[in-house]
Subunit: 313 residues, 4 copies
């Protein structure tokens, strides 16, 4: 928590096959359904503290309809709303909805829809799901992959450095790492509100034409669980798109898979813990060894696809 | 496989609460029910190649009713039966039963009931459970702990060195490690038909008065999964009795838990791979630092309990 | 980073055997010596960003002479100094020293000596030690345990809730977890400036009579490396005092060992990531199952010893 | 141990840069030098029980000059020699050499030079290197990767099924897995004397033209250590050629790297434990998803190179 935001709280995923998407998240990744309301399915991982970290709604194409951020406090919410309003990107306040209080909506420079809020409904487990540990929102009795909590989201943007500046200067995130192409143009960037390299990834449109989002990531407790997840995904008929491998940036272990609606999901663990407020963003050369820890595991072409296809706001 | 046996194939567990025992093995440890027959429940772990590795039958007290060993081949079965017969410990041939062919039954010197057989029914997964890997008997889509396969069994015996001699000299196992008390009496010994330190543990009656068996062990792929299992067991209301920790003998990571019928089950992973036919058994001093890798994790008193209580054949 | 502090930056360890202590940290734990100056030895782990995270000085008894905290920024340093001054615990400004700029010194309510500073010298690796990754201060070519970075420190205090209040209200840390005895007296507490359960542990004097500090902890990348470290420590003649096991509070995997000067060092990994500014501290019952994840791994009596023996400021 | 062999005991590696090769094995992989004799450098991993598992000799090109197998006993040595002699592949007895007793030399059908022996000198650690565990040949005080023991070797052969038949029918290995091309020609096969999928890999000459060996593998205790090794290799200037990833056959975690002399070395861990003497070899389709667990980590072209280049016996 280095600024006005405390954490990525939830994302709304539109899927052409919402029931199949929900089944994938619950039966394979091990999330739990909290509630259904207004045609949407509300889910959370076992370690997510709030009512939901994922909302699945029906949509013609796979896309992330909006992303919710919890602020660092009640004052920080007012401060964030005012600061965003001042940039001209604000879309106004929204009344409380299922799971959280009033929220201020806005578009990031690249066009993605977000909301910030402070009041949030904590998940209260029914008796049978209560943990024997007082610090857990729910028992750990995992199914399948057993993802622990929402981690980060990666957007596609035509204005990558505008997005970096927005998150850093308006909301107080840190700008941690970036990659440039042979023309020294930034093609990938990471900003964060926490100790890891990113809770927001930013991919340029050249790398992911047409789309608005690239992937949504869930956290597993151990890198070895990402490898275990790859096995489970293979065996469950959900082939891994890329990985498991390890990013150089952030040092995280990862894999990517498509959920049944078509959107890319990342499973993610490990990585450095960096507490330096004055960290200088680190530069990588995208086409010279790349940003990966293990250079002989090249990214497949399919990773250039973003969502929704062929459309921007 | 260093002698006439190829592997521990199955154990029959008597439980006063067979349905609860079966639920623990399937819902918490992640075994699968193959079949029910004659009042018994047949189970196997996802990686077990045969029809079953565990039979749960109803009984007044928790105990292992018999243990099944697969021989190294058809000739090895005849050889084993003849060799056992010659020791006077044989109890004769038994007709084929559910899961395997004709078997020769015997009592080990300490009094435990065993059978050796060669013909075994391989598990054939139904279409929906087939693996995407040609070398697996079943898909890996784990529930809970997700144990992989049966590993070893530890007996209680008043004649510990007679048992060692029997398994080594009659059946060709290797004698790997042992621990002595202050009088240089052997109180614990390990023999094996494979590359690990043991598929049979032998505990003296002083250490486990009255009983015939001490624990039955299942294998997990990684030591870290034993730690994950400890968490799952706690959260599922099945408290770990000892561990997770690491034995010095064999270098295995372990934990012990009681199944609902009362018998002790070990979850087990890691350990050395030893291929030396002429390995000299290694001696440990049980009361001087002990046989554990991590000396400040003492064995609780409850570990001296064996099954069934207060009775020997 | 939830308040005025960004991170635990260093600790000064007094040792009756400074050369042996330094050899333990470099040859067994895998730290690196940065410099020697004024009779002190400056060390850092491979992932520590600054000039040092540990200073070893000669002293009659093992003790932590002072602890250094880096603030969240230059303004936060002024704010922290003013806020501390207002509590009457300030001891004034100190001129820049080897490794960091001017610092404000103070005693926490329990009597431990600290300093806060902002300007810090970053470690610059010599050519041969430079990493192939732009985000690392140094190559990863580990020796022995290969600890990554300083993690937390646990103090002994007669005024445990005063200390909690000080760190929370004066410096903005979060109060995360605590344990009470049968009289509902707090005997252990954890406060943090980051996403984990603590970077400060607080132990009551009843639990650790006479001393001022209990242990200093270094971070390893994986819980499995704590288990590997236990093996290395045993083999290097530095017996583990307690662990490896897993705390319930924070969910961290740990072990404790004494460095040659006598002070307790913890090796530490894993644990939850908690981003809730309004987290309610969780209460544990110290004598009813305890604060451990695995209940059958009791804390040895030696863990009640604190440093220096029989003395408080 | 399923036949006349108990284990792969050693390999002789010829290197154009023997000192650099030795430094890589000791300083990066963490092997130990036992002795130098006759221009050769004798090395072993910390867990290898015998005098050496690797001999480095000077040679014009990187190649494996010979491979040593320990038999299942003294009689098995005579039996193996007789059986090999009967195939016409024998090259006669060799007098005892440094590290082991008399050996029978032979060429496998594909032309590689081997020897079988029984008497072997066990490594006896000097006092300072003795383990605190009675079952280890040496203390575990690792440097760098810290490889544990020799694991397997992969040959190139124009007669892949002849080699399979030789190891299976003459020496009693099991034939475990194989891959075929679109013409149903076997292009890869695995045979084993132990519980894992292979201690011998066989690659067809189409896949590795000209050479006689493909790689020599060392075992690490955990799959996570293979990932840690990849990081160490990168940082030490020894780029990983392929991996870390996981083979489908055998389920092993792997990486490949070239030692300074140019030969490919594999680091290897995990994998199934299979005890079935009547295991049916499993067939994979090399060009239809391949033999890898994770399909989006394709093998780089460089992996088709074998040693020595452009030459067969």
């Amino acid at each position: 928590m280095f600024g006005l935001l405390s954490q990525l709280a939830h994302a709304e995923l539109e899927s052409p096959r919402p029931e199949e998407s929900a089944a994938f998240f619950t039966e394979v990744l091990g999330l739990y359904e909290t509630e259904r309301d207004g045609g949407s399915i509300y889910l959370r991982a076992w370690g997510d503290p709030f009512h939901h970290s994922l909302v699945i709604s029906e949509g013609a194409q796979p896309r992330i309809a909006h992303v919710g951020w919890r602020t660092a406090g009640a004052e920080a919410l007012e401060g964030a709303a005012a600061a965003i309003e001042a940039t001209g990107l604000g879309e106004g306040w929204q009344e409380p909805v299922l799971g959280h209080g009033r929220a201020f909506r806005f578009r990031s420079p690249g066009g993605n829809l977000h909301e910030v809020f402070w009041d949030a409904d904590r998940y209260v487990a029914p008796e049978a799901q209560r943990s024997t540990l007082p610090n857990r929102p729910q028992r750990f009795l995992p199914v399948g992959v057993g993802a622990r909590q929402i981690d980060h989201i990666t957007f596609v943007t035509p204005k990558i450095m505008d997005d970096v500046a927005f998150w850093r200067d308006t909301l107080g995130d840190r700008f941690m790492e970036f990659a440039v192409d042979e023309n020294d143009e930034v093609v990938f960037a990471e900003v964060t509100s926490n100790e890891q390299a990113h809770d927001i990834g930013l991919v340029g449109v050249a790398a992911a034409p047409g789309g608005q989002t690239h992937h949504l990531a869930y956290w597993l407790d151990l890198p070895s669980e990402v490898h275990r997840a790859a096995d489970i995904l293979r065996e469950s008929g959900n082939p891994v798109e890329w990985g498991p491998a390890r990013h150089g940036h952030g040092e995280n272990t990862f894999l990517y898979v498509r959920e049944p609606g078509g959107h890319r999901i990342e499973l993610f663990s490990g990585g450095y813990r960096n507490y330096q407020p004055d960290w200088e963003p680190r530069k990588w050369l995208a086409n010279s060894g790349g940003v990966e820890m293990f250079v002989n595991n090249p990214m497949p072409e399919s990773m250039f696809e973003a969502f929704p296809a062929g459309e921007r706001r």
